[in-house]
């Protein structure tokens, strides 16, 4: 078992210390020593996010987290150039933002456009983990309300970890604030920032 002594370190150092050690040597089991309950909880959270099973102990004045690599665990942090963003379970290779400005796809026949948009939303999952943000503005916000025929699909995406942003000004404009059922109500600053962070923006 790998021992890590992180006593005397203030947050977030114990987590970083543990992280660095795991990145250098892929330990299957670790015992992390800290000197306060907050650090103990933080280290436990970190180890669990890396797929470890954890146990908390006391050792005199000190606090201990024992972690063992779980069965279905992702590999304990491959070496990577620091600093990097925290890695969710499946790190997308690139970040695609899809901006839906209408509840229909294309121009011409509205009924056709409505069906196409529903199909489009249902098929988006084929992008896999690359699909990073789904943003609804203007008429597009109607896809996120109680009467939307793709509501269940969107809820499924959200449950799977996709961040869905819904324009608050637009919901308000249509009087639909209370009827939104999926996604996070947001403002233009968040939308613009998400666009800036995305590797690719697809606008429909």
């Amino acid at each position: 078992m790998k021992e890590i002594d992180a006593r005397g370190l203030a947050c977030p150092a114990p987590v970083l210390h543990t992280r660095a050690t795991l990145q250098q040597e892929r330990a299957e089991a670790v015992r992390v020593l800290v000197d306060n309950a907050a650090s103990q909880e933080n280290v436990r959270r970190y180890l669990e996010s890396e797929g470890f099973e954890t146990r908390l102990e006391r050792a005199g004045e000190d606090y201990v987290v024992v972690g063992r690599c779980g069965k279905a665990a992702p590999p304990a942090a491959q070496p990577e150039p620091a600093p990097a963003k925290p890695a969710p379970a499946a790190e997308p290779s690139r970040k695609i933002l899809v901006l839906c400005g209408a509840d229909r796809l294309g121009r011409g026949d509205d009924e056709l456009g409505r069906r196409l948009m529903a199909n489009f939303v249902k098929t988006l999952k084929e992008m896999g983990p690359d699909l990073w943000r789904l943003v609804f503005v203007n008429n597009g916000v109607k896809l996120t309300i109680d009467a939307s025929e793709v509501l269940e699909d969107l809820k499924g995406y959200e449950a799977a970890g996709l961040k869905i942003l819904v324009c608050g000004t637009c919901l308000n404009h249509f009087g639909l604030l209370e009827r939104k059922r999926v996604g996070e109500t947001t403002n233009m600053l968040d939308i613009v920032t998400a666009m800036q962070l995305a590797d690719k923006v697809i606008s429909v």
Partner: protein
Amino acid sequence: MRFPTDENVIVGLERADDAGVYRVSEELALIQTVDFFTPVVDDPYAFGQIAAANALSDVYAMGGVPKTAMNLVAFPVREMDLAVLRAILQGGIDKLREAEVVLIGGHSVEDKELKYGLSVTGFVHPRRVLTKKNLRPGDRLVLTKPLGTGIVNTAIKAGLAAPGLVERVTRTMAELNRRAAEQLGRFRVHACTDVTGFGLLGHLAEMVAGSGASVRLAARAVPVFPEALDFARMGLIPAGAHRNREFREAMVEFGEGVPRDMQDVLFDPQTSGGLLISLPAEEVEPLCGRIRDQGGTAQEIGEVTADPGERIRVA
């Protein structure tokens, strides 16, 4: 401890509200507040802005208009370049200018650790003072800035926050609560505070304690920095968040659907956080609409219920 007082003290130390309020005449009361802290970001100019926005916020939270300010500076003159201090002060002054507040003095001392903040004085009508202590059953709660700045700041210290995120969080912390505050006078606001060191649930608990009412919070409706949830999941949680939880846990019930990382964000200590406003349900949309029209954030996050148990239920 007993504090000296007189009949013109509208809000004093006993009330532990956001600021003190003292009646000058039938028409005018002074709001006074002071706040300073060690740097929360690396950029000295941004730190100055954030410190000023934070100090001004207490006046806004009391329903007032800030008028004058004084600087408080502790600076390691021997070890640090004076250009750093100049940048901090410039950030503060620029924020005051934006708020139309004048700087009329200040005081500085030599200190090993850099600190900056301001004492701010504002005006309010004595009968229009907003405090934490007036929740009414049926009210809705509105929050005007996203949560998670404490956790993100911890991730910044850890070198794990992307530059875009640093910039977004810095901008939010430096944002004045003025846009939201200026709208409050048009509505029947019953209670208001600003979300800072105790986190959303800590400040909400202060509002609920003694109110004879309870609160239902919709975790999914609470605006947050999405990255804060990721960082919380990996244990990048400031010690203050753990303390806030410990202190108020007994009042709070989390539904099964509220993930642990969201709970952490709800307890996360905020620097220069948003206003938390309690007002009648029918006024929520007009208020939020007006704030959003000004480019601000405003989100309904919960409601006040008649349950006299003074509980906070998060679902």
